[in-house]
């Protein structure tokens, strides 16, 4: 359960990234957040795991009030929240397995990670996470030798290795081509349905959003302007979210064909 109440984030320089947000997300939901770049999508997602602190208001995640957490409690919270990034954020110079093991850091004693000696249980869990995104054959390959789509699957495996209750995906397919984007989105959907992990995905292509979202949240200038099912989100709704008429660049299929 994620509950925003009057949540605002103001960055230095007076930019209102999030404006008096009230939002409830239930366990097991698959939510897609849409909006133009700068609309506050990233801020919303990063507020949930405390990477971006709220300026005012409250935010409850799984029963704990995020703004009041100390360093250690914040780490505990983050351990239960997997995160997937636009730029994958893998360590390119090390193996896929080592990257996925990063998702186990919270459960492994510090001295073991310092000498690089992870317990067999954790290595096994990392392997199983790789199996779920069907890339376990690359376990000992350097991350730099993978394609973009493969890297993002490793990113998903790393998040899964945390055994999370929530997965946050910040523009997970923005660096990928359309077919690969669909592969990655399908893995996220499958993980949500089979493991019941609450999944929140930022997207800016509206055809991708409607194809995968159970629920769409629209942000404009940090303010919530739409909250409804994927089926309810038609062209008018998106024009309202974007604050302008739609162009070919707003859908992945058309943007790709126009290249």
């Amino acid at each position: 359960m994620i509950r925003f109440r009057g949540a605002s984030v103001v960055y230095g320089g007076g930019v209102h990234a999030l404006n008096d947000l009230n939002l409830d997300i239930d366990d097991g939901e698959f939510v897609v957040v849409v909006g133009l770049s700068g609309a506050g999508k990233s801020t919303l997602v990063r507020a949930i795991n405390g990477l971006v602190p709220l300026t005012s208001g409250s935010l409850e995640v799984n029963g704990v009030n995020v703004p009041s957490l100390g360093t250690r409690q914040l780490r505990n919270l983050r351990a239960g929240i997997g995160m997937i990034f636009q730029g994958f954020n893998l360590v390119n110079r090390t193996s896929v397995l080592n990257n996925v093991l990063m998702g186990r850091l919270h459960r492994v004693p510090t001295w073991r990670t310092l000498v690089g000696w992870y317990p067999p249980v954790d290595r096994e869990f990392a392997m199983r996470s790789l199996e779920r995104v069907e890339i376990v054959d690359k376990a000992y390959v350097r991350a730099s030798n993978l394609s973009g789509g493969q890297r993002q699957r490793v990113g998903i495996a790393r998040a899964l290795a945390q055994e999370p209750k929530i997965i946050l995906a910040d523009e997970p397919v923005a660096s990928l081509d359309p077919p690969t984007s669909h592969v990655v989105m399908r893995y996220l959907q499958q993980i949500n349905r089979e493991l019941g992990i609450t999944t929140i995905v930022n997207l800016h292509f509206l055809d991708l959003a409607t194809a995968y979202a159970d629920r769409i949240i629209g942000l404009r200038g940090g303010t919530l302007v739409f909250d409804g099912s994927g089926a309810d989100a038609d062209a008018d709704v998106f024009e309202n979210i974007y604050g302008r008429s739609l162009t070919a660049d707003d859908t992945m299929a058309k943007a790709a064909s126009g290249l």
Binding site: N49, L51, R75, N76, L77, R78, A79, G80, I81, G82, M83, F85, G87, F88, N89, L90, V91, N92, R93, T94, N98, L101, M102, G103, L105, H106, V108, T110, T113, L114, G116, R158, Q162, T247, D249
Partner: protein, 277 residues
């Protein structure tokens, strides 16, 4: 955003700019450097007393040191005392490099903006590294000889500090340029600070760090020749000894031996570093 239709979007963009005028900074610095050099060389009251004529007159003179090159006493290469000191030099270089590098890695990690657990730790790490670097290794060696007496120990301490200085500086500079994505990923996964450093930063700089350690070893091997001159152990003691007794033939043997060892180590180290690339 797209341009509205009917308006040629590139009209104001596709114009060649005028070539920017040359700034004053580059020419001014060049002129300053030239003037500084001329003033330094010039033979006046505050000059260096440098004269080209003197160089030529010195070259023409007979010189016992130079003449001894032809009589190099290669017997020194197998003399037990010289050999012992040579082994000591190698040991000093290895021990100094290994111990210094071991301290340098964590020190470098906490001396960067993204790697420091807090401001105080970063300032402390930077200060240690700056203070150590301020003095050349030979001065550290003199201070340690004064403090703990002559022998290999002050030499080892000097090389230890010198290695910390070199490797910390180079590694920290490399750390400043790493990809911060994995750092964010580690933080988002609830990792502790030390774990983040180990899992997200160390793998990124490990090849560079290994290369710096080898480089420090090359430097330390050379330094250990100088250390003996101030009584801090190693082959330098033999060099200094032969110099005092003007045994130039023997001195040259040590020099030859040293050149050979440094050359071999340099080649090996360069090969290894290239592999690390």
């Amino acid at each position: 955003m797209r341009a509205t239709s009917g308006e040629p979007a590139t009209a104001t963009v596709n114009v060649r700019p005028t070539r920017p005028r040359l700034g004053w900074f580059g020419p001014a610095v060049t002129a300053g450097l030239v003037a500084f050099t001329v003033v330094t060389i010039w033979d006046w009251n505050y000059g260096t007393g440098f004269s080209i004529r003197e160089i030529f007159s010195v070259i023409g003179q007979k010189n016992p040191v130079i003449e001894a090159i032809g009589e190099t006493d290669f017997g020194q290469l197998v003399s037990p005392r010289s050999r012992k000191k040579f082994v000591e030099t190698l040991r000093l270089a290895v021990l100094g490099t290994v111990s210094g590098s071991a301290v340098a890695l964590p020190l470098a990690l906490i001396s960067t903006r993204i790697g420091a657990p807090n401001r105080a730790a970063r300032i402390a790490a930077r200060t240690i590294s700056n203070v150590v670097r301020a003095l050349p290794d030979i001065v550290w060696a003199m201070l340690f000889v004064a403090a703990v007496g002559s022998g290999a120990l002050p030499g080892l301490l000097a090389l230890f500090l010198f290695t910390i200085a070199v490797v910390t500086k180079l590694t920290a500079d490399t750390l400043d340029g790493i990809d911060t994505g994995p750092v964010e990923a580690a933080k988002a996964s609830g990792a502790r600070h030390a774990q983040m450093l180990r899992a997200a930063q160390v793998p990124q700089i490990l090849p560079a760090y290994a290369s710096y350690v080898l480089y420090a070893f090359e430097l330390n091997l050379r330094s250990s020749a100088v250390l003996g001159i101030v009584g801090a152990g190693g082959i330098g003691e033999r060099l200094e000894n032969f110099r005092q007794f003007q045994q130039w033939d023997r001195l040259w043997a040590i020099v030859v031996m040293f050149i050979v060892v440094v050359f071999v180590v340099d080649r090996l180290s360069t090969l290894l570093r290239r592999k690390l690339g």
